[in-house]
Subunit: 161 residues, 2 copies
């Protein structure tokens, strides 16, 4: 397809259900003032599906569950909670919501957007932890942006991505 | 040009001298562990050409000067210094380096990379300012990344970009 004629490919949907949920959740979060990145590795080596930073530095982590099987096989989601002020699961509309624990947030999303079905309780991070998570987020986002903007460049600090 | 055949356009040079200096400087900084973004507006409404964050949260600001005329017409560069630990000018190799003040850093770059010709003195930010600059940087980088990755989405918070 010629340059300038690829409008249809530019708005294509992500290739997977998890990718669709991620895109819609990032749009939802941005509308709420939280700018997010996907797949951020935390200091405990767990990888959060989405981490997002709010206007006052609030940190949200979202774990995406593309299916019941995906949810049931996950024994590690509680490991994310010490790294955020608010924790959410994000699922599609066909997911049985009663499976989601009641003491975490719940987002329903598709490839185009989403909604916060249940707000997450706030468990405020201590200052040093918040600082460390924000720094990691900042450097990761900038590194990824550079990789996208500068196709001739590849980051050598694999630890960041 | 067909998809998959645009290798040459992917590695094309930026369209301007300032764009070339920016790209090379971002590559240089990344090699030093500083991940940067271009055109970050500061709390005083000045727009830094490049802001970058180091591994321990160090903040560098780089002002790009594409020509002597560009340098001479700039009366505002000192306004960036209260927002960073290190301040640099970045110029191309043909720029007369003696024009650059001796008490700031100097980078020489082209579209492919660069070098720190003179290290910037450190003027350490206070904690609250560093926190605010890092937060702004984090949200800006993530917002830009989302705009690149999600062509169907546009940020409505113009203040961020």
């Amino acid at each position: 397809m010629a340059d300038g004629q690829n409008l249809t490919t530019e708005i294509r949907l992500p290739a997977s259900r998890a990718g669709e949920i991620a895109r819609g959740t990032l749009r939802l979060l941005a509308g709420l003032g939280y700018h997010g990145v996907t797949e951020m590795t935390l200091a405990n080596n767990r990888r959060a599906d989405i981490a997002a930073v709010g206007p006052a530095g609030e940190i949200a982590i979202v774990e995406i569950k593309s299916s019941v099987a995906d949810f049931r096989s996950d024994a590690k989601w509680q490991d994310y909670m010490p790294f955020c002020d608010r924790f959410y699961f994000a699922v599609m509309a066909d997911f049985p919501q009663e499976l989601i624990p009641e003491d975490v947030g719940l987002i329903v999303a598709d490839g185009f957007g989403g909604a916060v079905i249940r707000e997450a309780p706030v468990d405020k991070l201590a200052g040093a932890r918040r600082k460390a998570v924000t720094l990691r987020f900042a450097r990761l986002a900038a590194c990824r942006l550079q990789m996208v903007n500068d196709a001739g460049w590849t980051d050598r600090q694999v630890s960041l991505t």
